[in-house]
Amino acid sequence: MTAWLFGFLATLALVSALGVILQRNPVHSLMALIVTLLVTAVFFIALGAVTIGFLQAIIYAGAIMVLFLFVIWLLNIQAEEREAGHLALKSFGALAAAALVAELLAIAGRAPAPEAAVKPSPAYGTIATLAAALFSHYLIAFEATSLLLLVAIVGAVALARRMPRRRSTAASPAAASVSATGQDVSAPEVSRRAASA
């Protein structure tokens, strides 16, 4: 990877990553995230991991992010107004993250890993190499992944599908549970909903 290409891509990645956390509108955040993912995919390809780079673009940028878009639309999440308060918490968060980055950067600076150290073979990063590894050394992990996806499907459907229709007209468990603990949080909640309706 040449210096100018690295500089360009790294700047793009950093700017778009910052965009993810600085944009007020979730759709804009998402666009920034997609750019970050695509730039990362280009990095993968530049580092010789061609197959993974394309997979990143197909699955991560092309499919998972669409899911985010759907949910943002489904819930009609608007841009936030200026967030109030929590300045202490925010600056603490930013400081903690900055400290972490500084430490990792220091480590990166000390790690002796020049690019010329190892010349990868022509098969490096091809789909055949990956497949051979997946179906031999990583067989268990591969099978575990399939189960993981099944769990995610079952879980997502269980949570997001429509509520089953209640048979009895008894008070909803939600209301009952809140009053049972004596925390009467439901009253303002109810009035807020009534006001909005």
């Binding site: 430490e103 990792l104 220091a106 480590i107 000390r110 790690a111 890993a113 073979s121 098969a123 055949a128 190499t129 497949a131 051979a132 590894a133 179906f135 031999s136 050394h137 990583y138 067989l139 268990i140 992990a141 575990a144 992944t145 189960l147 993981l148 099944l150 769990v151 995610a152 079952v154 879980g155 997502a156 459907v157 269980a158 949570l159 509520m163 089953p164 048979r167 008894a170 909803s172 468990p173 939600a174 009952a176 549970s177 809140v178 049972a180 603990t181 004596g182």
Partner: protein
């Protein structure tokens, strides 16, 4: 490596059979549940139990096998894996028993509920049997994702939704740390298999900043999962909001799974390099115990109180981890077993008192319980005493072993802190007893009928708690043989290294 050669892979089915049985069980429950309404999901629970029983049977042949690995080191075959798998299966079984009436009462989606329970157990078993970091990671994710959903399965209840959300955000956050830690460890050692990593840690690369930073991030990741301070923020809210059987499963099962991997990585494989990490662990252990116990003092909700108590107990386990070595390892394994039964029992009582979609989890709800439900109250006393560490119950023996291991390893101050904490904890455990026995109850207490599932869950927990406490010998023997068999992996690999070198 470029040429696919399945013959070169050491495929061994035996260690996988329990995992496969649980996975098949989860799918069968899911399919069987297609036409079952949420109001009569009890049959699904029995199917799940049957599969758990079968899995338990298939775990037995694994006991006593000489330590080895399969699938190119991805799966470890040893008593350690078998020990944790059996404990996890028992935990899952008690949880299912606890849920047989609870799930329809709270209108949980039965098929999804039981199948996710089994999947979560599968993830835990995978973590216990894993021999490399990526399988541990995938096991952890399978477990976590299933439990994220389980804790939010009471969909009409805002508290349950909130619990799922908080658990998910912080859980996924910690996953990021764990993953980055794995990346650093991989970068430092060129492997994700535990044996070679341990060798690298003990060898010339041991002081590499990359490796140490990786270990630090792994510590953070596991710290979140076992709810060690300062990574515990999610615990009380999630425990309070989740359906009670799920809370029990979280308090016990997740701890078992996470500690199985945590202990295997740090205590077993990196034990020789304990100087790198046990100072940090000392601090975390002390903080965890103290915070957990002190905050538990002021809780008004029994599930929150038990949540902080679970944090405190994670602290005791970390005391054992800090001590490192074979004695401490066995003690910690034993402690986890004792903790499992005791906590399952306590949560069973909590679940037994909740009826028909009504949560009764404020400590105030336990007023006069001794009069209205003397049996449940007595059981609760037993479990709370065991959690406090009163002889001759399981909790006492567990603490005894762990603390003496810490003393033997020379951690006098840590042991003193731990003992002081135990004394503090007595206050809040016993205050529940006081509430149950010495205060007036409501005029019309809620009737709780003895139902078979709940009775079985309570009985199993009681038997476990008492048996382990009264007659700890065989269980301690099992724990120590489990830990030794895990240790022998590292000896084999270091011997191989010597031969090669």
């Amino acid at each position: 490596m470029n040429h696919f050669n399945p013959g070169a892979l050491d495929i061994l089915w035996l260690p996988l059979v329990p995992l496969i049985v649980v996975a098949v069980g989860a799918v069968v429950v899911l399919l069987a549940g297609v036409r079952v309404s949420d109001d009569d999901s009890e049959g699904l629970g029995w199917i799940a139990l049957a599969f758990l029983g079968a899995a338990l049977l298939f775990t037995l042949p694994l006991i006593g096998q000489s330590s080895s690995t399969a699938f190119a080191g991805a799966i470890a075959i040893d008593n350690y894996a078998a020990y944790f798998e059996i404990t996890v299966i028992l935990t899952a079984a008690v949880t299912v028993l606890m849920s047989l009436e609870y799930a329809p009462d709270f209108r949980l989606a039965g098929a999804e509920y039981y199948s996710l329970l089994l999947f979560a157990a599968l993830g835990m078993m995978l973590m216990a049997a894993a021999g490399d970091l990526i399988v541990i990671f995938l096991g952890l994710e399978t477990m976590s994702i299933a439990v994220y959903v389980l804790s939010g399965l009471m969909r009409q209840d805002p508290r349950s939704n909130e619990a799922a959300m908080k658990y998910f955000v912080l859980g996924a956050f910690s996953t990021g740390f764990l993953l980055y830690g794995i990346a650093l460890v991989y970068g430092a050692t060129d492997t994700i298999k535990l044996g070679p990593i341990a060798a690298a840690l003990a060898g010339a690369k041991g002081g590499s900043p990359l490796l140490l930073a990786g270990l630090g991030l792994l510590l953070v990741g596991f710290g979140f999962k076992v709810a060690a301070v300062p990574f515990h923020m999610w615990t009380p809210d999630v425990y309070e909001g989740a359906p009670t059987p799920v809370t029990a499963f979280m308090a016990v099962g997740i701890k078992l799974g996470a500690f199985a991997a945590f202990l295997r990585i740090f205590l077993v494989y990196f034990g020789a390099a304990a100087t790198h990490w046990n100072q940090v662990l000392w601090v975390i252990a002390a903080l965890t115990m103290t915070t957990g116990n002190l905050v538990a003092l002021v809780q008004g909700n029994i599930k929150r109180m038990l949540a902080y108590s679970a944090i405190a107990h994670a602290g005791y386990v970390l005391v054992g981890m800090t001590a490192a070595g074979a004695q401490a390892g066995s003690a910690v394994l034993f402690y986890l077993l004792a903790y499992a039964f005791t906590n399952l029992g306590a949560f069973s009582v909590v679940a037994a008192l909740e009826r028909r979609g009504e949560r009764r989890d404020a400590i105030a709800d336990y007023r006069g319980l001794a009069l209205s439900h003397p049996g449940l109250a007595a059981l609760m006393v037993v479990f709370l005493l065991s959690l406090t560490g009163v002889p001759p119950l399981a909790g006492f023996v567990g603490k005894f072993y762990v603390f003496s291991a810490a003393l033997n390893a020379g951690y006098v101050w840590l042991t003193i802190i731990a003992v002081l904490n135990s004394v503090v904890s007595a206050y809040y455990y016993l205050s529940v007893v006081v509430v149950m026995y010495m205060t007036e109850g409501e005029a019309r207490p809620i009737a709780v009928q003895a139902q078979p599932g709940m009775v079985a869950a309570l009985a199993l927990s009681l038997i476990g708690t008492v048996m382990i406490g009264v007659y700890p010998g065989p269980y301690m023997g099992a724990a120590s043989s489990a830990f030794k068999s895990a240790l022998s992996h590292t000896q084999v690999s270091s011997r191989q290294l010597k031969l090669r070198g």
